[in-house]
């Protein structure tokens, strides 16, 4: 009987694997394993070099990415389930770099807290691994796996400070919302699979393109997008973000705010540009609603925050709105779509630089004040002018004041919206414009506190900042300024297109 069953089984032959293409993933995998091994073997004694090792790992994984980029031609594997094209490479590089910066941020923070350290980096690396897989994932299964691979370690990292109730709560909320969202998303995916009979996005795209529109499809699309909207903390799926950001260890917050948000967007654009390409009628208005809501709610609530991290959480929600905005017009035409994609990528890259920078500063200040309350930043300019100036650069960049990076990011978004020349485009542009003024206000009031007010306890002993943090600050500040002054940098990397996959 069973023999008979076995007899039916077609002999399995391994699909061809392009080792060069998967080299980054493999390297990270290796380092992750290595770290876990070290942890198992050396226990405490591993502390000394794990962070360095993690850093090296991330940079090492960058090497094949670069070589791939130089080589330049797109590679497809597992009948197009796994693609390495420019877009993928750019995003991978960004993930690896921001991961590296997070390592820099973490080094002292983690080693000074009395928690296990080695797992931390193990988690970090596997989460980044998930992200770079996500960058090339072009079918539902891979996307799902990648998503979980990057999420589950993130849950744990958020809960890192075990004995701290806030950290617990942060992790718990993040986890619960996460699994719930992904469950909903999976349901949507299952429906999609049911309708199209495939999980490969490209094929799915063709089916949806030709197939008539059924309500099931709409439902499925909404559910799937909702899942990732949760990841990028777009209103109304944002609720977890502020709490988690506030409670989680700051470096982890930075990681979530930049890397995992970016990962969410990667998935989103892949779905929109490859999978749902034909169904602009559904995802465009959906994106419009999400973007508008996120920008407005995020900024308005941010106005009333007294805690810097929490404020950043809301500002992050708002920026999620900005990044989504171009997707609301993506379906108009091929060129517009390309422009929209570039806008998204540009924004992600610049946003990574300036946001990580902000968190770096927050960490630096917290080393002295042990607090992220905005009021505790008063008079910073008197005793930490350096930090103040850098923070000014970052916040102004976020507010979009030239010549700091952010203006260019906003500019491309506006351009994408205006160029589409549709009502939705213009209306979003207006909303975005209004919002950037509101945003300016809360950024400014932070600056005002730092520059103009007196230090609360008159204590003006300068802050000592460890080398790694300085490194992080330097990197991010440099990038932010460079992007702002010479946006060409971003343009070259952001010059990508996904439509080839969807055949226009």
């Amino acid at each position: 009987m069973s023999a008979a069953v076995l007899a039916q089984v077609v002999p399995f032959e391994r699909p061809p694997i392009d080792w060069h293409a998967v080299a980054p993933e493999l390297i990270l995998l290796g380092f992750g394993a290595l770290l876990t091994l070290i942890d198992a073997v050396y226990l405490e004694r591993g502390r000394k070099f794990t962070s360095a090792l993690a850093g090296i790992g991330l940079l090492a994984a960058l090497v094949p990415v670069v070589t791939l980029a130089i080589d330049g031609n797109d590679r497809y594997m597992f009948n197009d389930a796994y693609v390495v094209d420019n877009f993928a490479l750019v995003m991978k590089a960004m993930f690896l770099l921001s991961g590296y910066v997070v390592v820099l941020l973490s080094t002292n923070y983690i080693s000074e807290g009395d928690y296990w350290e080695n797992e931390y980096y193990g988690m970090l690396i596997s989460s980044v691994l998930g992200m770079i897989v996500m960058a090339s994932a072009r079918d539902l299964i891979t996307i799902f796996v990648a998503l979980e691979l990057l999420s589950i370690p993130a849950y744990l990292m958020a809960t890192w400070r075990k004995r701290d109730l806030k950290s617990n709560e942060a992790g718990l909320k993040y986890y619960l919302m996460g699994v719930f969202a992904s469950a909903v998303m999976l349901y949507g995916m299952s429906l999609l699979y049911g309708v199209t009979g495939t999980t490969i996005l490209a094929d799915m795209g063709e089916v949806l393109n030709t197939g008539e529109s059924t309500s099931v499809v709409s439902l499925a699309i909404v559910f799937v997008i909702a899942g990732f909207a949760f990841k990028v903390s777009a209103v109304p799926f944002h609720t977890w973000a502020p709490d988690t950001y506030e409670g989680a260890p700051t470096p982890v917050t930075a990681f979530l705010a930049v890397a995992s948000k970016a990962a969410g967007f990667v998935a989103l654009v892949q779905l929109v540009f490859v999978g749902f390409w034909g169904r602009g009628d559904v995802y465009e208005p959906l994106m419009w609603v999400l973007a508008a809501a996120s920008m407005t709610v995020g900024n308005l609530v941010a106005l009333r925050q007294t805690n810097m991290v929490r404020m950043m959480a809301y500002s992050g929600i708002a920026s999620a709105g900005y990044i989504m905005a171009p997707l609301a017009v993506a379906g108009v035409s091929g060129d517009v779509a390309d422009e929209a994609l570039r806008a998204v990528v540009t924004y992600l890259v610049i946003y990574a630089a300036m946001n990580l920078g902000v968190f770096a500063v927050i960490l630096g200040i917290a080393r002295k004040t042990k607090s992220a309350e905005i009021s505790s930043y008063a008079g910073l300019f008197q005793y930490a002018p350096g930090l103040t100036v850098v923070m000014t650069v970052f916040l102004m960049a976020l507010a979009g004041i030239p010549p700091f990076g952010g203006w260019w990011a906003k500019f491309v978004v506006f351009r994408a919206l205006v160029n589409a020349d549709t009502t939705m485009g213009y209306s979003l542009a207006v909303i975005a414009a209004v919002n950037s003024v509101i945003a300016l206000y809360y950024y400014l009031s932070v600056l005002r506190t730092m520059w103009a007010d007196e230090a609360p306890d008159g204590d003006v002993t300068p802050i000592r900042i460890p080398a790694s943090l300085v490194g992080a600050l330097g990197l991010t500040a440099l990038a932010t300024m460079a992007f702002g002054v010479y946006p060409k940098l971003v343009d070259t990397v952001a010059d990508v297109s996904l439509l080839v996959g969807a055949g226009g």
């Binding site: 986890y175 299952s190 699979y193």
Partner: protein, 99 residues
């Protein structure tokens, strides 16, 4: 013909799961509710797979099951941690962070 019944079952499971997630105060029960949703998904996948006879659905289902295991593992760890720190696994009590 056959398909719809599976889908309805899955939908029912899904709804029950959601209901549980939203209403159960006990952490463990919430986790179980999540499992219900995932199983609804699995049923969908397998049903569709059989219906369109390609293996992708089954593969997907397998992945879901595997991942779900990991998820629940983490989840239970968290509930445990919560119990350790505050001697309770009532999710409604967890609201230090708000606003």
């Amino acid at each position: 013909m056959m398909l719809n019944q599976f889908l309805l079952l899955a939908a029912a499971l899904f709804c029950i799961g959601v209901y549980g997630v939203l209403t159960r105060r006990n952490g463990v029960l919430v986790l179980m509710s999540v499992e219900l949703i995932l199983n609804a998904v699995n049923i969908n996948l397998v049903a569709f797979g059989a219906f369109q006879d390609n293996v992708m659905g089954d593969v997907f289902a397998v992945f879901v099951i595997a991942v779900a295991a990991a998820e629940v593992g983490v989840g239970l760890a968290m509930v445990l941690l919560m119990y350790r720190n505050r001697k309770s696994i009532d999710f409604t009590e967890v609201d230090m962070l708000k606003g």
